[in-house]
């Protein structure tokens, strides 16, 4: 039981209650909470059923199987691309991370309405814990991907060590978009259908099934590489699977042009942060 009575405790410093915010001013609590919620969700998906992990691995694998059948075997699509099946699987795992996290983030804040309206906690915890859960997922899926890569006989490369450099911008970008979507959805309920369409477009508008070079027209290729996801996937190909493939900077047409995608990346991340931060104090009232 408590030892409040009798103990001589110096009076705590009064601090101002400013209402809810994105981060809540206490970093440790913010990190504890985000981590705890993410781990809890993660465990719920994986230990909820015996086949939990297998199921969640099945999804990208099945998807991969279908696409592989259609594009590689029937349409003979990837004949000119070295290690096409491995590339396809890697791309699917990376892009599904983005799609799943952002898709879940859209409704996340509204779904936790009860919590938001009755508890004081940093609001940013909600979208970030979702991205964190998906990142854990991604980590597990990447283990399977690398197993596949080794089995398939892709030579081991030193650039594999650069994987975190690849994942960091992907996760940041996903987080930025998630913040933007989850806060917009509070005001506009058609964000969800709109986003599911955009998300599909991004799937086909990123080099998942094909490579940038399949486009053929250099100018179109440069335009295409404005998409930050395209840059990440292109770089993933060079570092993980085929060192002879162009880097994202080359594919984007050299330095000044490559900066456009960097600018879009930074803008979206900052915009997501800014919108969420601006909306956070009022979310409880808008719900």
């Amino acid at each position: 039981m408590s030892v409040h009575a009798g103990a001589v405790v110096p009076p705590p410093e009064p601090r101002e209650i400013r209402g809810p915010s994105a981060l809540g001013g206490d970093w440790r609590r913010f990190i504890h909470l985000t981590w705890l919620i993410a781990v809890t969700e993660f465990r719920l998906t994986y230990f909820g059923s015996v086949l939990g992990y297998l199921w969640s691995l099945m999804r990208p694998l099945l998807f991969f199987g279908v696409l592989y059948l259609v594009f590689a075997e029937i349409a003979n699509f990837g004949a000119k691309i070295p290690y096409y099946p491995v590339l396809l699987l890697t791309n699917i795992v990376l892009i599904s991370f983005f799609q799943e996290a952002t898709g879940a983030a859209v409704t996340a804040v509204v779904n936790r309405e009860n919590l938001v309206r009755k508890m004081h906690f940093p609001r940013m915890v909600i979208p970030l814990s979702i991205v964190l859960t998906s990142s854990m997922n991604l980590g597990l899926n990447l283990i399977a991907v690398f197993a596949f890569i080794l089995i398939y006989g892709v030579p081991v490369q030193a650039t594999w060590l650069l994987l975190p450099v690849l994942l960091l911008p992907l996760i940041m970008f996903t987080a930025g978009v998630s913040m933007l979507l989850s806060s917009l959805y509070v005001r506009f309920r058609d964000v969800q259908p709109i986003w599911s369409v955009i998300s599909q477009l991004l799937f086909y508008g990123s080099p998942v099934l094909y490579t940038v070079q399949s486009i053929g027209d250099p100018q179109l290729e440069h335009l295409y590489m404005f998409n930050p996801l395209a840059c990440i996937l292109t770089q993933a190909r060079q570092w993980i699977i085929d060192p002879s493939a162009p880097s994202w900077i080359d594919a984007a047409g050299g330095f000044p042009l490559a900066l456009v995608s960097v600018a879009i990346f930074v803008t979206l991340c900052v915009l997501g942060w800014w919108v969420f931060d601006r909306e956070a104090p009022r979310i409880a009232e808008l719900l």
């Binding site: 408590s2 409040h4 209650i17 400013r18 004081h120 058609d190």
Partner: protein, 403 residues
């Protein structure tokens, strides 16, 4: 009271809600009408509220529905952002707007307790360290590994209340959480309140129940229409609250937007028509409802009901249900509905609600007010909520069956 440092300081707190008259819910609507100015209904819910709560005080906040007390609590809890003014709190503050918010039915008690406690500001380690104490207090040691969805609702409430007690916050904000649970559990809550109070914890309790204010509070505050009506001795506050309630019944609810018809008030009386705040269990109740009719209402159906604080409806009747079908209520008419009832209800606080519908092709609800009035039934809570017609037989001197 001994003069101590302030636990909560509130200075000039203001909070306004702007509710758009036409909601724009989609980007599509926004894009179709980019320049449409949104008009707002403006509600000044808190209009300059200032007070201090000393460390170790048990402080009550009371007020009618819509007086702004829940908004005040949410501002104190950091859930709403104040528009103006300043709130300062010394120490860790744990709000309990509702017990068990955020409990996940698919998780075990341990996971839920840790999650809940971390939300309240403990670190995960502190939360895990206190888990045993939480389960012991909730008397749930035998159900450690069970998923929460397999707990009864009573067990969930006990768990939630136990977390609240064990997180050791310096300041506790409690919003009518005692509305739940059985009599034995309520007694336990009361014991905890006494204990926390004696330990010198600062507690802010928002409630409708004047007896609780008088029983526990050192001081109390009555909020009316967004301003402090009276602050100080709990007895004075309780009396003033009852006066205001009565005045309200006589003048009708402020700001009612019903234009066709408006409920003036609902109350309980004895069979002679004398208004009562409290009746004894077993007495005949007369429920009264007065309605001002402003525009003609064709084939009206006027209903009245009794409900508990948590919204559980105990009884409902209406003109239509009892076979009365007046052709219309005329504009300018005042209608008085009287319901004589042998309810069998026992001890508790009951709210009177009323509804007026225009019937016909489809029912059109003109107003539905869940809390037009309230009254207490005085009796022994041990006998349960409901008096049940029964008889009892005791047979004695029977021969014991041979072993």
């Amino acid at each position: 009271m001994i003069q101590r440092h302030a636990a909560i300081e509130v200075e000039g707190l203001e909070k306004t809600f702007r509710v758009p008259k036409q909601h724009i819910h989609t980007i599509k609507e926004r894009a179709l009408h980019p320049f449409r100015r949104t008009e707002y209904d403006v509600y000044d819910v808190l209009r300059g509220v200032s007070f201090d709560i000393g460390s170790g005080e048990f402080f009550g906040i009371v007020g009618r529905n819509g007086s702004g007390k829940s908004t005040l609590l949410k501002c104190l809890a950091g859930i709403y952002k104040p528009d103006e003014g300043r709130i300062r709190v010394a120490g860790r503050l744990a709000p309990f707007i509702e017990l068990g918010v955020g409990f996940n039915p698919d998780l075990t008690a341990l996971d839920n307790v840790v999650l809940n406690a971390v939300m309240m500001g403990l670190s995960p380690k502190e939360a895990r360290d206190r888990f045993d104490a939480v389960m012991a207090f909730a008397e749930l040691e035998d159900f450690l590994d069970m998923k929460l969805k397999n707990y009864s609702s009573g067990m969930q409430v006990r768990l939630a209340f136990s977390v609240m007690v064990q997180v050791d916050a310096d300041v506790l904000l409690i919003d009518e959480v005692l509305a739940v649970g059985d009599a034995a559990f309520q007694q336990k809550c009361f014991d905890v309140f006494y204990r926390l109070r004696d330990e010198g914890r600062t507690i802010v309790l928002v409630t409708h129940q004047m007896p609780m204010i008088e029983q526990f509070s050192h001081r109390a505050l009555l909020l009316n229409d967004g301003v402090i009506d009276i602050i100080g001795d709990p007895g004075d506050v309780a009396r003033r609250y009852l006066d205001l309630n009565l005045a309200h019944i006589e003048t009708g609810p402020a700001g009612s937007r019903a234009t066709v018809a408006r409920p003036i008030g609902a109350w309980v009386s004895d069979t002679e028509g004398k208004r009562l705040d409290a009746v004894t269990a077993g007495e005949t109740l007369v429920l009264n409802l007065e309605v001002d009719v402003r525009e003609r209402v064709e084939s009206p159906d006027l209903g009245i009901w009794l409900q508990m604080r948590d919204g559980t409806r105990m009884f409902y009747t209406s003109t239509r249900r009892m076979g009365q079908r007046p052709e219309a209520f005329e504009a300018g008419e005042r209608v008085h509905l009287r319901v004589r009832a042998e309810t069998g209800l026992r001890a508790g606080l009951y709210f009177i609600g009323a509804v007026l519908k225009r019937t016909g092709g489809h029912d059109d609800t003109l107003f539905a007010e869940p809390h037009l009035g309230d009254f207490t039934i005085v009796g022994d809570a041990d006998y349960g909520l409901l008096e049940v017609e029964h008889d009892l037989e005791l047979e004695r001197g029977l021969e014991r069956a041979p072993q």
